[in-house]
């Protein structure tokens, strides 16, 4: 754990101006399909997302923060994201985060990414680079990425279902140990990537329903959230 605790709070804050509030992390489609209808199903959804997408995102972020090649990580993220709607969302969020990061923690590395990849990199890779610019550790950013994976759907569920915010927060608190475990697992994977130079050590845990429903959701004519 780094000593720069305030920088970590700033980066993990849902109010950090990187556009994440417009995304539900698949919750809007799951609510429509009846797969999230209250605190218990929200918890099951979040637990599944955390151990799949969340683990992969946390490992990508930790590896980028550790100094692994961001372009190789971006290609590895593509290979782990078979759904074009989710690749587009990840790059869009990556561009928005990069803008906010360059203003908040200006660093040559961030400016270089913006210049070489105007279409953006996957958001977790940018998150890792941002954490690096902010002086945080790979484990810090893995923690932030894991938290983000479940806080998006939990916050969205409050709006979509008029769920009691106390219940949604209790769901997040109930996942605290799992988030810590995922962050530790992701950090270990990032260390292996750094040591070997091979992105094959990144986890590749997949969530079929998230992949399927993201593409459906992108085709909805009217929706509350962008993803």
């Amino acid at each position: 754990m780094s000593t720069r605790r305030t920088a970590l709070l700033l980066l993990a804050d849902g109010r950090f101006p990187a556009g994440a509030h417009a995304h539900s992390g698949g919750a809007e489609a799951a609510v429509r399909a009846g797969r999230i209808d209250g605190p218990a199903t929200l918890a099951a959804f979040c637990r599944g997302r955390l151990h799949t997408t969340g683990l992969v995102a946390a490992a990508l972020a930790a590896a980028a923060c550790a100094g692994c090649d961001p372009y190789a990580l971006d290609a590895a993220a593509d290979a782990r994201t078979p759904t074009p709607a989710l690749r587009d969302t990840a790059r869009k969020l990556g561009r928005q985060l990069l803008r906010a990061a360059r203003a908040t923690w200006p660093a040559p590395e961030l400016h270089a990414v913006a210049a070489t990849r105007p279409r953006g990199l996957h958001q977790p890779v940018v998150l890792g680079l941002t954490a690096r610019a902010a002086g945080l550790t790979p484990h810090d950013v893995a923690q932030a990425a894991a938290y983000d994976t479940v806080s998006s759907p939990a916050t969205a569920a409050v709006r979509l279902l008029s769920l009691d915010p106390f219940d949604a927060t209790a769901v997040l608190a109930g996942l605290a140990d799992a988030m810590d475990a995922v962050a530790a697992q992701a950090t270990a994977a990032a260390e292996a990537v750094l040591a070997t130079g091979s992105t094959d050590h990144l986890p590749a845990a997949s969530a079929p329903l998230l992949d399927i429903t993201a593409q459906q959701h992108a085709a909805w004519p009217v929706r509350l959230f962008a993803s």
Partner: protein, 248 residues
């Protein structure tokens, strides 16, 4: 440790011959009659496998210019072993330049208390074509599923195009929630690699509520489906194959 260690191998040549066709342990390999211009091999189960503790390997190669279709005679049932060990099942597929491989086995069924780790690595040349199907059924009729971790890695021209790992069953957190399987008892993928996709990627398509066809970032496409049972799953994957213009 108990269990069977086996490595079965098949190699197809462009003249339609099978220079290597070697079954082992639970895998009997039979050349079967092909309905088209390819060599066809059917994997026949010679004993119940994988059981816990088994270490199984299956290697297939279509040499440059060859066309090979591999099917299986029956579903593969993962069963628990006597002393609680997990089983492994590693498949390595290589498709050479201008070669074609159709890999179309019957489903894997995770029987209650089984514990199987499947790893499939597919290496496809830039000019090769692949149709690969995998189907997993969570438990035999009315039983709880065993545990399965299945990783699928596709490389095209040496570059990773797809890397996916699906895990479900006892001890896998959240697998039955609305993000992963949501109570569905069958899950599968159909992966198609075709050099023609480089210029003209297939369009994404929705196949009912629980399946999609998606173009990958590389010149390949994936059908992802979940369903209530194996029959419904097969229908979705077959519809996906039709959308992609391939026979599965």
């Amino acid at each position: 440790m108990t269990g069977v260690t086996a490595h079965a191998r098949v190699t197809a040549a462009p003249d339609g011959s099978l220079p290597l066709l070697r079954g082992d342990g639970p895998f009997a390999l039979r050349r079967t009659r092909a309905a088209g211009p390819w060599s066809q091999v059917t994997v026949v189960g010679a004993m119940s496998a994988p059981l816990g503790g088994d270490r199984l390997r299956l290697t297939a190669e279509a040499l440059p210019g060859a066309a090979l279709r591999v099917t299986s005679a029956a579903a593969t049932i993962a069963l628990p072993g006597r002393d609680g060990d997990g089983a492994t099942y590693d498949t390595a597929l290589t498709v050479g330049a201008d070669a074609s491989l159709w890999w179309l086995p019957e489903p894997v069924v995770s029987a209650a208390r089984s514990d199987l780790r499947m790893t499939t690595r597919v290496d496809v040349a830039d000019t090769a074509r692949l149709v690969y199907r995998e189907e997993q059924i969570l438990g035999r009729a009315g039983e709880e599923p065993g545990r399965l971790v299945a990783r699928l890695v596709l490389r095209i021209g040496g570059v990773v195009a797809l890397d996916q790992e699906l895990a479900y069953g006892p001890g896998v957190p959240g697998y039955d929630g609305g993000a992963v399987l949501g109570g569905h008892r069958a899950v599968g993928q159909l992966l198609v690699a075709d050099p023609a996709f480089a210029d003209k990627p297939p369009e994404a398509a929705l196949l009912g509520g629980t399946a999609v066809v998606t173009p990958l970032a590389a010149s390949a496409a994936l059908v992802t489906a979940v369903a209530a049972d194996g029959l419904a799953l097969r229908r979705l994957l077959t519809a996906g194959a039709e959308h992609l213009g391939v026979v599965a």
